[in-house]
Symmetry: D2
Subunit: 341 residues, 4 copies
Amino acid sequence: MIIAIKPGTAGAEVQEFAAQLEQQGVRVHFSEGIRQTVLGLVGDTTGIDADALLAHHLVEKVIRVQEPYKRANRLFHPADTRIDIAGPDGETRRIGAGYLGIIAGPCSVETREQIIGISQAVKNAGAAFLRGGAFKPRTSPYSFQGLGSEGLDLLLEAKKVTGLPIVTELMDINHLEAFADVDIIQIGARNMQNFTLLKELGRCDKPILLKRGYACTITEVLMAAEYVLAGGNDQIILCERGIRSFDNYTRNVLDLSAVPALKKQSHLPVIVDPSHATGLSWMVSAMAKAAVAAGADGLIIEVHNNPEKALCDGEQSITPETFASLMVTLKKYADIEGKKI
Amino acid sequence: MIIAIKPGTAGAEVQEFAAQLEQQGVRVHFSEGIRQTVLGLVGDTTGIDADALLAHHLVEKVIRVQEPYKRANRLFHPADTRIDIAGPDGETRRIGAGYLGIIAGPCSVETREQIIGISQAVKNAGAAFLRGGAFKPRTSPYSFQGLGSEGLDLLLEAKKVTGLPIVTELMDINHLEAFADVDIIQIGARNMQNFTLLKELGRCDKPILLKRGYACTITEVLMAAEYVLAGGNDQIILCERGIRSFDNYTRNVLDLSAVPALKKQSHLPVIVDPSHATGLSWMVSAMAKAAVAAGADGLIIEVHNNPEKALCDGEQSITPETFASLMVTLKKYADIEGKKI
Amino acid sequence: MIIAIKPGTAGAEVQEFAAQLEQQGVRVHFSEGIRQTVLGLVGDTTGIDADALLAHHLVEKVIRVQEPYKRANRLFHPADTRIDIAGPDGETRRIGAGYLGIIAGPCSVETREQIIGISQAVKNAGAAFLRGGAFKPRTSPYSFQGLGSEGLDLLLEAKKVTGLPIVTELMDINHLEAFADVDIIQIGARNMQNFTLLKELGRCDKPILLKRGYACTITEVLMAAEYVLAGGNDQIILCERGIRSFDNYTRNVLDLSAVPALKKQSHLPVIVDPSHATGLSWMVSAMAKAAVAAGADGLIIEVHNNPEKALCDGEQSITPETFASLMVTLKKYADIEGKKI
Amino acid sequence: MIIAIKPGTAGAEVQEFAAQLEQQGVRVHFSEGIRQTVLGLVGDTTGIDADALLAHHLVEKVIRVQEPYKRANRLFHPADTRIDIAGPDGETRRIGAGYLGIIAGPCSVETREQIIGISQAVKNAGAAFLRGGAFKPRTSPYSFQGLGSEGLDLLLEAKKVTGLPIVTELMDINHLEAFADVDIIQIGARNMQNFTLLKELGRCDKPILLKRGYACTITEVLMAAEYVLAGGNDQIILCERGIRSFDNYTRNVLDLSAVPALKKQSHLPVIVDPSHATGLSWMVSAMAKAAVAAGADGLIIEVHNNPEKALCDGEQSITPETFASLMVTLKKYADIEGKKI
């Protein structure tokens, strides 16, 4: 940690301030410049609050050299983390460390027929996981909020029928028990900094699919993961799903540079959601391919047998036919990138 | 609601589509252009899902003419909403409809001495409410997370001593019972779209101070309020506290145009938090004055007796002396604006 | 164009307003809603100023249904535009309509040895065009501003030696004559809305590589192209090079969804600059591959033989060896996408 | 300047790198941490290119402690700069250093009657300068581009009639001669980083009103000013006019924190344009007052006698009556802030 002292501060004051800092267990190096002194703090600075330092009357700037996350940091965990999940059919699906895990399914579970039909279609096309929303976060209280526990039951039935492990979103920590047979718990973008929820998930033994908040930095994504990791749960899949920008051509801007960025900073697998990011079904295939080319460890794609009648987000769902055709191309891309699909 | 049909669509197809729409309880008007047909939907369109329409193969664009919020909409509730809160001293404090409510206090409750001292200081300077964090949302799991229920007890003691009603943040809906004597429940920016929490707050009978998410639009703020209003709780105070931008000179960009915007769209009172928005104590007074000039119904300001030793966000806290001096100027501004402080 | 009239407006006033509009050569359709009237304008609305309408006291909202660009619009020019450029070696290089054009070279021309060396290296690796900056737009007046006309001469020499057509940035319209032997004129992101410059380029007969301004929308990019097209020059290559966001992990956020977006809206070829977008050399290959997967018609990549000694932007340049290795993979991707490289 | 060396670098390599740095005229201090070494560069680092350093294989991060601007920096010029301009009536108008300069007038000059009428009205209300556009930067090549030199002539006539100094936008450096009698040359947001233009303005002896680019940081605004200052022209007025964000309720987000920020970093006067920032006439007064409260040295406001018939940007213009009424309130605010209007 680097502290720039305000120009014109007396040497004795700086000495005294440095002595206070050293009482917090770090060593302090001095760089005396022409106009100002710069202090370098050496040792474990994670316990030192940069915000509090900034309030000090001698301090002009505080600069962190080390990242504020530890367990998520690749520096201390160089090998890629791989998430392994066995389906009810006994087969193990993998995400990360050379495995490209494809998650597909409808935005919302609507009917038994719909979810079973789609799950079989995506399985046949090569998807490794089934997604489907039972509890839906909707901007409007007047919009369809998902089928709730009935939707969860239908999803579990589809799991049994197809053998695919399932991914669904948790919005309320009190539902955790009901999610006992869910394979991957999804945390939505709007809850990425719901710290109360993250702490609870740290105590749970299920893989967490953590979606990037739509205005969260790379560091904030990793700090959110750190909350879960700090609680003892190290099965986390990060997910880029678009960030806010000044343009509204697409719903969000898919930030594919987040893929190499997160993978450089962290050992956790990183997947991409081209459906929510763009909000435009005709753009999903292009961005799915781009995600794989950028190094993603997986994809989560909305597939609906009848997008025009979907109860939510139909405009971003592709049909099973388009999905099957996309999978053919994705396999070629995975091959070039040396990844197993 | 306006629907632009894709150029080149056959008239019969458009007729059939319009007939389907009319089955949803609206009337459809046709504008046949040179290159494309535009449909106008007349009637109550709040039940029609624009997203689902967009997925239809005939549809090019869907444009909402009416706002998606009802209870928060000034159109249906022209008069300003005023929030009245009686302190334990029997005096009633007000926010909105001509009353400028000033909320002040430390970021975090730290010690009995600290919170009592600050609360007396801000009361003497003219604050109407005491703020203080007991449960703190922190980006890092390793940062000070607040004193929790002990902090809440100290805050309640300060309330008794000074007579000031208190404002504090709720992060976990399971804490609601413990907040029985809290006067205004604050919902932080990161929870503004925690819909599970918002629904519960709709059933509660306390005023809610709803902070704008740092990347949420004016419409989204009002939709979050709508969740609470739809549940039956109409005591909501909106709070602008800065939005994310490309510049990091200030922590966030304080969007003061949100004040006239929210007040035009809605009857709910709107206050401003210059401390969290800027993150810079030396900028707080300038932005507090600007907020009042822009038409704010109140302010929430961080005041700390010893910002250099504050356990969180010291760099954005002003001293009781600065606060007292600011209040003198704010009273002059309120006077010009015809507001009671 | 759709005009929502303010609720409560008298019918006679609306009629009179509609009559005024019809005098501007459009027909007006009425949709009378429960709370408000909506007008649909039919005919050529490009001459009608939406801003001026908004100022009218009866008008609440104005919504454009048609895009404001014509010559850049794919609707009126369905076939892809292809840019063909013959090098001094007699060979023709192509961008667009199935051709993936790769432009490579250093940020700045520095020495004869450097530019000749790099141009030979990138040619050998398969690049079709040589890039190099002679006049450099720099944020600081104290930074290296490029070699100017001496740099241009060196670039022209490299063109002769290798046979590669060259791309270089024009900052001052008064330099146009000196650019007589430049093959593609690059307009930088900061000049994308320099309308004075764009108008002049419309009169010039050279292909223009128009870089997206770092905070410009898809529509604004196409309106900038429209300025050039309206002047008579239809040889335009659009270039996505990153947009501003709240995160600064990468210099900008490479918006790859702009590739399918621009190509859907327009017939003009779209290339991507992964070097300036990310500002990080280790990320260039991943994003270059992703750009091709997303459908780009070309790439512009910074290659420097000695990035550590580069006079500008060294941190984003890859070495000739990395470039050669990237080209091998890009050819496989182009093959899958059915593009010639 | 602080350089964090990559963890695991051998000491000898760091020594050698430091020796290279010292050859560039700075001294290098070492802070040897547990995991990495941090170098502090002491002396004049403005000549050292941070970008080039970042490309070095030993370097992990480079952090500037000093600001990259010198002449614009308040550190080296503590006193406020004041711009004094004498009108043809012999009276001197002032902006900065305690003077609140109000600039008002129409977006575009349209007719003799219009510009003379408005200029008299704004003068009577207390404006110190007349604004009016002759050459207009428009997003669309098909929009009204201003009356050009005819507009300039009308503006000069209004100057003569009212005695008010005039402010108008320069888009083309070749027009400089024609601007001989213009009092303040405005550079629009889209040209803020047109470095070719900025260099030329550095050689001119007229005050420059430099509008902040809509996605430019505080530092970039000051670097643009530095281009002009470096050329020898020290009469610069900075202007905040809104930045881009994810919300489009207002055209841009007026960033009023830029006022105290720019004034802390620089001695140059800072004014605010509430008309272009918000794009909404009904919001102009609120934001104008807020700007003065935030410490602005002036305002530039669009006033049009007939906003409904304005040839551009009518929706953001206020009437002379509203302007006169606003001025009455602004005088009270200026009084509280101790500024002369």
